[in-house]
């Protein structure tokens, strides 16, 4: 009988399979439920804005800019479920925690890029529509990009934010599973930090504004910021993997 030894090849193959399953699940829930709702809501708000001739001072401010919020918190929530719910489920299907962690990493990468593309398309479409009225969207919080045409920067911002939030969700889900509701909630003070840190370092959106206005944070060059954000997200994923590696599945 051949010895039953785990090999890196097997780990990566099954990790990829796991990533595929998780991504398909996310695509199903995100693509079929979440994104259509987001689009309908924002088109609705936009139409209302046009119909009422703008909101006073906020006239012609970007509507899609605010989609950044749900576009981060939904993946975060889903990643919590993945951490707390799918891990036990997949272990019972014979997955190792290592394979599952690889799968989660793959899912985070794919879903972040997909959300970034949707975000970029949204901004572009908004820009075109505003253009029909001879206007261009005004942004109320800081971004990496100045203009929706800065596609690489738009993609980078959305992808970095989404991935950081998903990594954070994975961490939160794991701590909730391990420590239960009360402790898990108390630990949010710490477990939410990676997502906030990335927003801070990236100096975008609300926390970016806080960073700039409140702390006088000056965003370093992108060549520093982007690798730093990726490092925070990767470290969060790796740290969560280290945390779940000896995790017991509850009876």
């Amino acid at each position: 009988m051949t010895a039953l030894v785990d090999t890196p090849g097997r780990t990566w193959r099954r990790g990829l399979l796991c990533g595929r399953q998780l991504t398909v699940m996310m695509a199903y829930v995100g693509g079929l439920w979440f994104l259509p709702i987001v689009v309908v809501v924002f088109v609705g708000i936009g139409a209302l804005q046009v119909a009422t001739g703008g909101w006073g001072d906020l006239s012609w401010s970007s509507v899609w800019e605010h989609s950044l919020q749900p576009m981060r918190y939904f993946p975060l929530a889903m990643a919590i479920i993945v951490g707390a719910g799918m891990l036990p489920n997949y272990v019972s299907h014979g997955m190792t925690r290592r394979e599952f962690s690889i799968g989660v990493g793959i899912m985070i990468a794919v879903v972040s890029v997909a959300f970034a593309v949707v975000g970029a398309i949204g901004l572009g479409v908004e820009d075109v529509i505003y253009g029909w009225f001879g206007e261009s969207p005004e942004y109320t919080v800081p971004h990496l990009y100045a203009d929706p045409g800065d596609v690489p920067l738009v993609l980078a911002q959305y992808a970095l934010l989404t991935s950081a939030h998903m990594a954070t969700g994975w961490l939160i889900g794991a701590t909730y599973y391990r420590f239960g509701g009360y402790l898990g909630t108390a630990m949010l003070l710490v477990t939410l930090l990676p997502a906030i840190a990335v927003e801070f370092v990236l100096s975008v959106s609300y926390f970016g504004q806080v960073a700039q206005d409140g702390f006088g944070w000056d965003r370093p060059p992108l060549a520093v910021v982007i690798p730093a954000c990726l490092a925070i997200t990767a470290a969060t994923c790796y740290g969560t993997y280290r945390f779940v590696r000896r995790l017991a599945i509850k009876p």
Binding site: M1, A3, L4, V5, D6, T7, R10, T11, R14, L17, C18, R20, Q21, M25, I81, A84, G85, M86, P88, N89, Y90, V91, S92, H93, G94, M95, T96, R97, R98, E99, R245, R246, A248, I249, P251
Partner: protein, 293 residues
């Protein structure tokens, strides 16, 4: 391929509670094993470790000669079905089967379909909305169709009515004969499942109190009834499981073989020697005894 199981001096503690207490046994594999024990005897904890649900901290667990924890060469071949589904909310029957198909190398889709039809399980329903019995049936479906070299059913019958349980036993036997593999079943329904087992392990408060072939176990205990002094004479030197006395008549349940000689003498002295069934033996072996102080 059938896999053997080797457990060496396994101890599991949860805080001050010792759930599994220095348990050792070897299963050669390819058989149907029964794991019996009262609630809280450590069955689920023990089985969880075989399936790598938790790391082993004290002692050793080997499946097919290798440690299962974080070793998918082993875990893909070990399928533990617990009494309760742990799928997250919103997961449908179909989702569970899709994952099993991807992750279980020996998965048999046709067989799964046949079992779903047999149990009349709705494929599109979410698991949380299934009845207790339907959840058990789903677990049984996954467990059988995974065709895992080591398949473990931990009380996977809760909520099933008697006819469905018998359907499960029939299916288990039929599929086991077609595809021999190591099957471990834990159950409280000893009268129903006792005859399915080739070997039986009995856990009592975390300790392994018996591991025998079922047929050996059926003759391992005896109830000797008759005049007290004669009963005591015959049962001397044997492990006494319980005794009852009414007037001068005594009935003693013993664990261990009474020699043919002693049996003949006992019978001629008018003692009654009955054998203890599996259920009785189990009850006696796991009875709350007063701890010697």
């Amino acid at each position: 391929m059938t896999l053997g199981i080797d457990v060496r001096n396994l101890t599991v503690r949860f805080g001050d509670v010792v759930a599994v207490d220095d348990v050792s046994f070897t299963l050669s594999g390819g058989k149907i094993y029964g794991l019996l024990g009262r609630n809280g005897s450590g069955k689920t904890t023990l089985l969880s470790l075989l399936a790598a649900f938790a790391p082993v901290r004290q002692g050793k667990v080997l499946v097919g000669g290798a440690e299962p924890f974080e070793n998918s060469a082993v875990t893909e071949k070990v399928c533990l079905i617990r009494e309760r589904s742990i799928a997250p909310d919103g997961t449908t029957v179909k989702d569970i089967l899709n994952d099993a198909r991807v992750f279980r190398p020996a998965w048999d889709e046709k067989y799964a379909d046949r079992l779903l039809d047999m149990f009349q399980l709705p494929r599109k329903k979410t698991v949380s909305r299934l009845s207790r019995g339907q959840q058990s049936a789903l677990g049984i479906t996954v467990g059988l169709a995974s065709r895992a070299s080591v398949t473990i059913f931990d009380e996977s019958y809760l909520g099933l009515d008697a006819p469905t349980r018998y359907d499960f036993y029939d299916e288990l036997l039929r599929d086991y004969m077609e595809q021999p593999r190591t099957i471990i079943m834990s159950s409280h329904l000893i009268e129903e499942v006792g005859r399915l087992f080739e070997e039986v392990l009995i856990l009592d408060r975390g300790r392994l109190v018996s591991h025998e072939e079922t047929d050996t176990l059926l003759t391992a205990g005896a109830a000797v009834t008759g005049p007290a002094h004669l009963v005591d004479e015959v049962t001397q030197g044997l492990t006494v499981l319980s005794q009852q006395q009414l007037g001068g008549t005594k009935s003693t349940a013993v664990y261990g073989k009474i020699s043919e000689d002693a049996q003949a003498r006992a019978r001629s002295a008018g003692l009654e020697i009955g054998s203890l069934g599996l259920q009785d033996l189990f009850v006696h072996l796991t009875r709350e005894r007063e701890e010697p102080t």
